[in-house]
Symmetry: C2
Subunit: 320 residues, 2 copies
DNA sequence: GTGAAAGCGCTAACAG
DNA sequence: CTGTTAGCGCTTTCAC
């Protein structure tokens, strides 16, 4: 069995409570005593048993994050942010992939709730009501989703989309289409708002490579000179399909994405897209969670996004 | 406060021990009693307190996974496999990104060790000795790394590389170079073995997009007709740089990657690469961990890899 | 088959 | 400032 607090107490010639205090309430112990305890702790390699501690404090020192799809590079980036900030506080992080199923999401949050101090929920597909119920169960912070009364951090999609539109118009594009994401995705609606009705809307497609391909074919029929994809994964599908159809990007069609995932800079032509501060969002989410745990109120935070202009957009083709 | 075992006991008119048994040792309780308890459990929505349970059993019901870089899509895929299998067993998973630092790796494993039943360590950069020490501390399963006496699951790089070489030679390539990964990466050495000395070795580069670009320039000077990249991320960098230099792939140079990350199929030309059963590896790792926890011996498991031929390779150019 | 009781390792009053 | 004591919620002997 591992070394316990009693071992430390014995060797440091103090009571267990002193050891406990030396470790978690330094101010309450005489400096000399504290030092002695710390030395013994180091010498013995003592690590407090978290189960015992949490049994009594009611806190686990853990937190959870639920994402819809680990296969979308966007989410691992958020994970990284969460872990970075959490790690600084000595907090460990559980993760779960809901595979884009709202039912699974709810179940995962419930399961996690039992063993974490709070959970971060990314791009949730659940209804507002479900989310409120969950927030009632455990401290909850949303990423890219707003539900009244629930903490959230938002990467400003609307503004990002606004920048896309401005960019396209400055290039002389008059007719551009929006290749929509899933109907159920909150971000999809948010992004449409940023469009301000200036783009033709083209249905709703799966938010992945395949969906982009399908969307591209339909978009081609509209005669638009620029395609705005819901996200980068779709945009990559668009690029691929257009290449296959021998449509030149950006000479014939300009294409934009959203998210600025790793691949956006790696493909050719490199994708003009909206950069999302994903890691930062993860970090801020942890901060908001901390606030909640300290008894603070729910907070909303909005992080700026910015357009990254690369090679997939150019001036609109002259009238042909 | 949440509902406890005593609440259940009271309402079911039995003792707490009976409730406990009904839940975790069904055989020791009369069926009728058990049913009554289960009904109450369901009615009250009772969830056993994991901290209390683990305090006494010594098991946490959690496991951890440490990866070198969440930004490489290869690793989220492994995470997914781990979580899938672990979830089936009601086990939750902690994750950590070591940012490719062996020191951080060791620290993370040590920290995790205190609150998990075992850890999965991916593509570790630590020395054999360090790993053995850690394996001594907590049940440990390695992915893509072999250390004597420690459990591991291997995706067969050597064979994969062998297939790459065979493919290239069947296309008539005589002179091809290997753009090496990090010196410290075990997989890098393993992959070189698969080369069997038939490729020219070209230093060691960062295993990412940037590294690929650098490597491509050097490789061009060798006059080789095919470039074998350490991994897909590098290969994508190669593709990008060659495109910038107006070198046609595959007409002038054939390029291969390794891993078959999502994007390998999305880029153009689509990448010929070695497919790795990442999710499966994650699942098998969990199985091996379970074996270890049941007191079983360390085991090695090897998963097959296979070449996926796409558009980035073609017959060697005729003598120019 | 079931109950009573003894802790798991730790923190948090409460004294001193 | 430090020690003593009483549990946190659960599993697990040990009786019956």
């Amino acid at each position: 069995m591992a070394v316990t607090i009693r071992d430390v107490a014995r060797q440091a010639q103090v009571s267990v409570s002193t050891v406990s205090r030396a470790l978690s309430a330094p101010g309450l112990v005489k400096e000399a005593t504290r030092q002695r305890v710390l030395d013994v702790v180091a010498g013995l390699g003592y690590q407090p048993n978290r189960a015992a501690r949490s049994l009594i404090t009611g806190r686990t020192g853990n937190l959870g994050i639920v994402v819809p799809d680990l296969g979308n590079p966007f989410f691992p980036a958020v994970l990284r942010g969460v872990q970075t900030r959490a790690g600084e506080a000595g907090t460990s992080v559980f993760f779960c992939d809901s595979r884009e199923d709202p039912r699974t999401e709810a179940e995962l949050v419930r399961t996690m709730a039992a063993q974490v101090d709070g959970v971060v929920l990314c791009a949730s597909l659940m209804s507002d009501e479900q989310i409120v119920d969950l927030a009632d169960l455990t401290p909850l912070v949303l990423i890219n989703r707003i539900v009244p009364g629930v903490s959230s951090v938002l990467m400003d999609s609307a503004s990002g989309m606004d920048q896309v539109v401005a960019h396209l118009e400055s290039l002389g594009h008059k007719h551009y289409v929006y290749l929509g994401g899933p109907e159920a995705a909150w971000s999809n609606h948010r992004r449409m708002q940023g469009l301000r009705g200036r783009a033709q809307l083209l249905g709703s497609f799966e938010a992945n490579f395949g969906g982009g391909g399908t969307a591209a074919e339909q978009a081609l029929k509209t005669g638009a000179t620029a395609f705005i994809a819901y996200n980068d994964l779709m945009a990559l599908g668009v690029l691929s399909r257009l290449a296959a159809l021998d449509v030149k990007v950006p000479q014939q069609i300009s294409v934009t994405g959203f998210d600025d995932i790793l691949y956006a800079a790696m493909c050719s032509p490199a994708l003009t897209t909206v950069h999302m501060p994903t890691e930062e969002a993860g970090q801020v989410a942890v901060d908001l969670l901390a606030g909640l745990l300290d008894g603070g109120p729910a907070e909303q935070r909005e992080l700026p996004t910015n357009l990254v202009i690369r090679a997939s957009t150019t001036a609109a083709a002259k009238h042909e």
